[in-house]
Symmetry: C2
Subunit: 441 residues, 2 copies
């Protein structure tokens, strides 16, 4: 007796069927095209590295979620759980082979043994982009602009909330609370989740009434970018390097989009990006048509990316990461997914013996930039075989079907428009011209 | 004291720096474009699956090489070591969601703990394409044609060696040696490696003198496709289903390429693809300019792809796999790699305060389809800062540099051609027209 193995997937892992995979690849291609127009270049790193490298300083959540095991050579290895740590290791290893400032992107899969009940996947695709080896506000700004351009090219209007992490610390220092900054940051970061009242209560336990009022005034500052900037500058004890940097960013926004003011950019003093390693500008990106889905692209400036792997002078940078799964879900909800069918023409099979000639006919369409599938069999019963193939075409999302003549390469063809159920006898050249105008023009 | 972690990679794993990654992605895009013109659609499967599923019936080599471990939920999991086994599982799991014949491709990484001393990598990219659910010779032929088109679109002329696995078995049956077919196949498969003399010796031990002469006559048949077909048909005891199928393939070749005869296709009776699961047509592809590198695209027809995972009626198919690493190595040796620089224009930074305006200027070029990088800082010393940026441009492979005027969005710009060290003062619109003609036309 033969035993069968039940075909099943691990929890949190997915197959991508053609319909979805075409959309995913189209989305990635669209994003990459924007990156390229800004002169960003791709890299890749291995899925598997020494666990020591990926875990670095460690951290409770990461240690629990990482896929870690001994390989056949008894090495302690793990699968990458993000693209940031491998990038830090990459920079430390290859710094002498790279030209700085280094503008790179990296799109790849990462793995985390997360709790799938929260709707999370254990295998998902990240899309990171960074500028490394440049400290100036022009690179902070370029990342912001690139986020906006990338999402605009997907048909999405966004609001990017910007803040300066060190300005918040300067403010805490000004009110004598800097030694509590880690706890305060942790609470403030949850403001949008737990609400102002909870935030106030938690902060009170740490900093006392007077300071809480000041902190809430700082993180709650509202108005135009300029108004908020003036207010938080004042609350931090006056102009400083950090406020000047934000001021310069603001000028860049006005200059880069002369007709739109600084419209997509908001100064949001409550954004801190939690306990991440950011030290300068931080940001989060929200869809104007679907803000509730949360930030789909976040990031910031960091001081010393590769510090853990290199004793040499530090390399700072600024970068961001797009959550591809969340973005896909948003595009789907907003009905803005790119079309999924890649081929809209098929040549039906009238006599299987002529399959070689059908391929030669298809080659003529392909040469003219018209993707063209060849159907491989007649579908049995001669009375019904065409109908069967029309049904197949419809199932596959093919819109135009070519019924070749007796001499497939010279005779007129019958062009059938599937949706309209309309047949038209025309020459091959006429069909090429007509289909080109329908599909490309 | 801070301790550093040495940045290093696991043996057999690689980073891809931008130069190489741009080429890899360009190569994959090129291959995908050909697949699309034939109406093939992409799928993806998880990197990790239940070990039971990936190991299937098992097999010595696979068991030794697979990365297998217990995940945090104590599940016995493994990383995929090819794209064929996951595809079989995929078909068993999703057969009711798919439309047959199903023409799919799958490009993805796989992992094998191979001996790296043979120059093998432990992480590499495979590129598989198959037609599932169709038995007719027209699908065998389409795969052959697609191999040829894919490689031709990369600038590579190929010879595809074709054979029919079952015709060889029929021949063995005819000479009364079919019960030894496994051993004979194993020896014959090594013909090109061990030479005719060794093959003869090994075969002699199994089949005896008379039969060896017949076997060598069969596998050594030379001449045109037609001549070889006639010869091996005769040696197998006359026309049969298998020889008729090859005959039909031959007719398709003539019909599909009327001006080229069947030039890229050779009938090679010694090709058996070892002990693989193939049951029908098998093939191997060699580069005309570099045959010694070995087959860069092999495959064949199989009877029952998903049999291990499904009790239902069997699904047959025909498919092939391109070895991307070998292909890249060949393209490099033949000096046929696609160009690696993705961005050939940069705007230099004259005053950092104008970075916003430089981005607005860059946007005008990007809108016209001209990728354009913005340099982020002046490079220090005002006397030398332009020279420094020219050097940076040269290092990055940027060919044209734009030096903006005092009013970056309205003044004439200076266009510098890096290689020629030539400056030209022109208007922004003139620069767009000129660069468009240089880069796109």
């Amino acid at each position: 007796m033969i035993s069968y193995i039940e075909p099943r997937l691990l929890k949190g892992f997915r197959d991508f069927l053609p319909h979805t995979e075409i959309i995913r690849r189209g989305l990635i291609e669209n994003i990459e095209n924007t990156f390229k127009t800004f002169g960003f270049v791709p890299i890749d790193t291995p899925a598997m590295e020494y666990a020591e490298i990926l875990l670095g300083k460690g951290g409770g959540e990461t240690e629990k979620q990482i896929y870690r095991f001994k390989d056949n050579g008894d090495r302690d290895v793990a699968l990458r759980f993000d693209l940031t740590v491998p990038f830090a290791r990459f920079i430390a290893l290859h710094r002498n082979e790279l030209t700085f400032p280094f503008k790179r992107y990296h799109i790849g899969k990462v793995w985390r043994g997360e709790n799938t009940q929260r709707g999370r996947y254990r295998e998902f695709t990240q899309c990171d982009f960074d500028i490394i080896g440049n400290d100036s506000p022009s690179s902070d700004f370029e990342i912001l602009l690139l986020i906006r351009a990338t999402l605009l090219n997907l048909g999405l209007d966004v609001t990017i909330n910007v803040n300066h992490r060190a300005l918040f610390n300067r403010f805490l220092s000004h009110i004598g609370q800097v030694e509590k900054s880690v706890e305060i940051l942790r609470i403030v970061d949850k403001l949008s989740k737990i609400g102002e009242e909870e935030t106030r209560k938690s902060l009170c336990e740490i900093s006392g009434d007077v300071n809480v009022r000041k902190i809430l005034e700082f993180i709650g500052a509202k108005g135009s970018f300029k108004e908020v900037l003036d207010r938080i500058t004042e609350l931090s004890g006056g102009a400083c390097a950090e406020s000047q940097r934000l001021s310069m960013l603001y000028q860049f926004m006005l200059d880069a989009m002369p007709n739109q003011n600084n419209e997509p950019f908001v100064l949001a003093p409550s954004i801190t990006r939690g306990l991440d390693y950011y030290t300068g500008v931080v940001f989060e990106t929200f869809l104007n048509d679907m803000p509730d889905i949360g930030s789909i692209c976040s990031g910031g400036r960091y001081d010393n990316l590769a510090g853990l792997y290199s004793k040499d002078t530090s390399i700072s940078g600024v970068g961001s990461s797009i959550g591809l799964d969340r973005l896909l879900a948003a595009l789907e909800s907003l009905n803005k997914l790119p079309p999924s069918n890649s081929c809209s023409i098929a040549i039906v099979c009238v006599e299987i013996e002529k399959s070689g000639q059908y391929q030669a006919l298809a080659a003529r369409f392909r040469q003219e930039g018209l993707p063209c599938e060849v159907f491989l069999e007649t579908g049995g019963n001669p009375d019904k075989h065409l109908v069967k193939q029309f049904v197949l075409a419809e199932k596959k999302g093919i819109r135009y079907v070519i019924i070749p003549g007796v001499n497939p390469l010279t005779d007129n063809i019958t062009l059938r428009e599937i949706a309209a159920r309309k047949n038209n006898e025309i020459s091959i050249n006429e069909a090429i011209t007509y289909l080109t105008s329908l599909i490309h023009g």
